[in-house]
Amino acid sequence: MTTAQIPEQAIEFFYLIATALFVLSLKWLSAPATARRGVWAGEIGMVLAIGATLLHRGIVDYTWIAIALVVGAIIGIPLGLVHMTAVPQRTALSHAFGALCVSLVGTAEFYQRTPHVPRFMMAVLSMEVILGSLTFTGSLMAAGKLQEVLPQRPITYKGQNIVNISLLAIAVAVAVYLVMHPGETRLFPLIIGIPLVFGVLMIVPIGGADMPTVISLLNSYAGLSAAAMGFVLDSKLLIIAGALDGSSGFVLSVIMSKAMNRSFTNVLFGAFGQVQPTAAGAIEARTVRTATAEEAAAILGAANSVVVVPGYGMAVAQAQHKVREFYDALTKRGVDVKFGIHPVAGRMPGHMNVLLAEADIPYDRLLDMDAINPELPQTDVALVIGANDVTNPAARSDKSSPIYGMPILDVDKARTVMVIKRSMSPGFAGIDNELYYLDKTLMLFGDAKTFVGDIVRQLAGEGLGSVAGV
């Protein structure tokens, strides 16, 4: 019953079970039907692992552990209860915390072991601390930009990449030196400090719209640093959890960069968000057809099928609850409403789905790009809400366009296209959108939340008349 009776093997065995549960957890998360079971498996695994650790016979004092656990829980609970719109910054913040933990442990391990640190161990330890530190500040910056306490605009200057890469190179050089001479304790702060600075500088030139990729990448770094910590502590559990997290972040960044048609090296070296907005003014003389909420509501109410394409603008305007009312109003009239979700829509991977799910829209109405594109040619109305680049036909046809080759939602194939945005100003890629000048396109100028609200009111108002008309 007492701590001393628990043999080392039993603890190891609990860790093994926890690992199995973690793997199952991810596997179950892959489909909505089993996803919650996945969370439970993860929770049980976590409790087992922490419980087993607390039984470890090396532990001489529980006071500080208890205090730290309680403080952590007190911080964690509000972080688990944020609004869905705040999930991106919350995720960035949790990357920062994870990386902080890894860096701190790595630092403590170094000072405990120096000067007798075998080479490989020192190499892994340096990697742990470097990755952990840069992920810490990088994630804080990302969270700041997403929360809009920091400017969202990319801040660039000449030679920026050279400065950044040099900084990282210095940190790596110091690490190599430490591997050779692990007794040089006074150098160790450098492989914490430099990466901390690098983390900040890395995010400075990246615009707000690029944060989803950055978050995925930081996720991957956080995982790798945890895996490195696992190598240092010889903990298989930690290696596996870190590898799972690392590959998860990596896969997500690859998916994101494919969906934006950016090369993956471009993403890896943080050199993005550099696209210069071209002056679109010259073309603005061309005419577009516009419509009021009333006109739009009339067309939508008479349609058989409507595909809604939400984008970054819908998320910014927090229009998801109005969109839900819109969905209800049309569904009640017998209109078939579906949502076409582009992989990079929103402020983090999959964010648009979470926002719409929060607004109680059933997930089987949320179709990804590959599923919705074949349906668009048979669709009466495609309603674009605050999306721009991901609907730009130039990506398919115009080889000179910066977004050429990026997979898009083929809304231009629908019978009628409606676009809700505030102005003719371009989207993230800074280029004009041919879609807006098509004969079949109606521009609905206004804030996403307000305009959708107006349409809903119109649909409710003329509801009786129209039903009689059907």
């Binding site: 892959s30 996945g38 001489v60 952590g72 949790s94 994870g98 997290d245 991977p349 929060e358």
Partner: protein, 98 residues
């Protein structure tokens, strides 16, 4: 040590492969919950931090360890909490009463 290292590499390689195969197949619908979940799982680093605090080998290690435990714990608690909240929101139109 060296054999430990090689074994650790085996474990890392297999786990990374499992990660790739499993994550590649996660529905895009669930990318956001996926990220919060892997985040929570990654916070298993708390285990290393707990030992650091508990073994109390130096004041430095205890202080750093305690901070680390608090940081990781907040991820564990917050991560599972929000993942579960998000997943609760995903309703199919079949299971949902209108």
């Amino acid at each position: 040590m060296t054999s430990d290292l090689i074994t650790s590499l085996y474990v890392f390689m297999l786990a990374a492969f499992v990660g790739f195969e499993v994550i590649r197949r996660v529905s895009p619908l669930l990318h956001t919950p996926l990220m919060s979940l892997t985040n929570a799982l990654d916070a298993i680093a708390v285990v290393g931090a707990i030992l650091l605090v508990g073994e109390h080998k130096s004041n430095l290690s205890t202080v750093l360890g305690a901070l680390a435990v608090a940081a990781a714990t907040s991820n564990v608690v917050g991560g599972f909490l929000i993942t579960d909240r998000m997943l609760k929101m995903f309703k199919s139109s079949k299971t949902k009463k209108p």
